[in-house]
Symmetry: C2
């Protein structure tokens, strides 16, 4: 019997694994190693220093992270990174930053960068259509760019890059908020990767930033202290009081990925199976369900689709709710249906949704 939490297909904050929720619940009363509530433990305690160190190490292990890159746990979400990154890499430079705009989130990132310096739009998804993505060959990358920025997975539209974009001789920055730790990546090819936690790796309130340390020699003296990456690096993400609770949950998720799942190759395999099952139902529905994304750009994290009419979509959501399934309404900017199947979502729950979709189309078409 699947629980309500297991059948929560919310776009984010997303569902977390059952075993992790049980440990979090225990920690609200008492963290086993400490004997105190997680909500009352000092961030300057030895225990929390160990939490930070182990979480970082687990992420390093999962991604085979080279020593050249630092791992930071910051506040402010991806949205603050939209600004901090151009402040570091673009402000005061006469170079141009290149942005690939493929949806809601990459648009927001570009607007922030324009406050800090010159920006070129290599791909304008608003014009080209948000249902598909460019290939490298479609884009005129410059060797002189300050950096390239793109979003690996657009949560709202359900499109995902399945190749690394850009040139290896230009700084590469990627917002992986909605597919971080969902599959192996070659971190060496990236200079900054950032991801808020609330999709695949924990609750809202903490953002993971992986940054090539050599970039941090750039002056940030005049930045607000919280926006100076060097302060966070030096203090090992304990510069001011960090979001202790959220980081602890990220630790539990990183342990689960290593020990229960067995690493990112296994996680990617499970995620691919989940996505394949849902897209199969869509493709075999004779147009009853209509996938939003072009087939080659389909996201393995957010399966976005429509039914013939908004009224039918509302019926479908009601039917799903009557079967215990929640979180399927599309993003407010796009409407339709979105099944978010982040790491924490099980194959069993996805199969339950597939069954339900088949039932609904049979019932409605009959």
């Amino acid at each position: 019997m699947l629980t309500a939490n297991e059948l929560n297909f919310s776009g984010g904050p997303g569902a977390l694994p059952k075993s992790v929720l049980t440990m979090v619940q225990q920690a609200i009363d008492s963290v086993p190693e400490v004997g105190l509530s997680i909500l009352g433990i000092s961030h300057r305690s030895r225990w929390f220093a160990d939490v930070l160190a182990e979480t970082e190490q687990n992420i390093r292990d999962l991604l085979s992270l080279p020593d050249s890159h630092a791992v930071l746990f910051l506040q402010g979400g991806a949205t603050l990174q939209f600004s901090m990154i151009p402040m570091l890499l673009l402000s005061g430079s006469n170079k141009t930053a290149e942005y690939i705009e493929t949806g809601y989130w990459s648009h927001k990132a570009r607007v922030e960068a324009e406050k800090e310096g010159k920006v070129t739009l290599l791909w304008d998804g608003m014009k080209e259509g948000l249902d598909h993505l460019p290939h490298n060959a479609d884009l005129a990358f410059s060797a002189d760019a300050a950096y390239l920025h793109y979003v690996s997975n657009e949560t709202v539209e359900g499109v995902q890059f399945h190749e690394v974009m850009g040139r290896d001789d230009v700084l590469r920055v990627c917002d992986m908020s909605s597919d971080f730790l969902s599959r192996p990546i070659d971190v060496n090819r990236f200079d900054i990767i950032y991801a808020h936690a609330q999709k695949n790796i924990g609750p809202a309130g903490v953002t993971v930033v992986i940054i090539r340390k050599s970039l941090l020699t750039r002056s940030q003296d005049h930045f607000p202290a919280m926006l100076d990456y060097r302060n966070h690096l030096k203090a090992q993400s304990n510069y001011n009081t960090p979001p202790v609770f959220s980081i602890y949950v990220v630790l539990l998720i990183s342990r689960w990925l290593k020990n229960d799942i067995g690493g990112l190759a296994n996680m990617a395999k499970i995620n691919a199976e989940k996505a394949a099952a849902l897209y199969r139902v869509i493709d075999e529905s004779n147009g009853f369900y209509r996938g939003f994304a072009a087939v080659e750009n389909r996201s393995l994290m957010n399966v976005v689709f429509n039914l013939a009419t908004p009224a039918l979509e509302a019926d479908f959501l009601n039917y799903a709710a009557s079967k215990g399934v929640s979180g399927l309404a599309g993003h407010r900017s796009l409407g339709g249906i979105r099944a978010s199947i982040y790491n924490g979502m099980t194959l069993e729950a996805v199969q339950y949704l597939c069954q339900l979709m088949a039932e609904f189309s049979a019932k409605t078409s009959a």
Copy 2:
């Protein structure tokens, strides 16, 4: 029988009320009104909009907040406010901001302001001594200042202002991180009040900002979007994904303050009783315990004291630990002993500590 959580005198994150911890534990599995884990509920849900609205309303009720002031829930801690406030009120102005520097935290705030404009130090606690505070009559306030900034309670040193500082014709900004909602205040006399949650009102990860709305007409167009107060005001603290969990705990605390405690006048009375009990033990110990703060500046939140030698202090901490009491070690910058007795700490637990202190001095002096 007092539990380990009830006997946690940590300087912050601080202990939360037992009844609130029980509700938080429930919410990790399932928020009663929703039927889902608090960690998997969308910040765009109707339920979370209601959480934000009720939390704000409770704070308005507790403080009798006038309509002139907005209540915001932000990320980045007090440390980000150290920068956002001078960016808003000082940057690009030819006026001077006035800072009263009375300890560790007000020092940090002043350093950030100096990045944005001219700052005058009205009181230099490093020179004057951190064990006492100035009176209004001691300070040369200017009618032309951009604003006055001070910290109402210095957590590290255990000194607290028991009067409102500054002139009523100059903008007044106060960091109340460690005594917010611990006593009634006349909000009308303040233009910005800010407080991170992890002392009196919740877990780390969220900061409450009360700001006079008329200040927000100032241009912030060139600021990073996350540092533009107008974005947060317009979105009712739901601009990007907020720290849902931390805000939910603040809601539970605000309900507890209203319904269980009966408002801030009652809370202040309880807090005064707790502090009086501890200071009485110190004062009646014939110098065995030595209060750090001047008597008239004693904090009702952080009772900081020393014993004759660091070795004796270590013995005391061990003795306390053997009796189930934790969190008493002083801040790393000052050493000694600190008993933090925020709202969540009960009078009963304080009396237990008083008893233990009396036992230890009797045992040691014998």
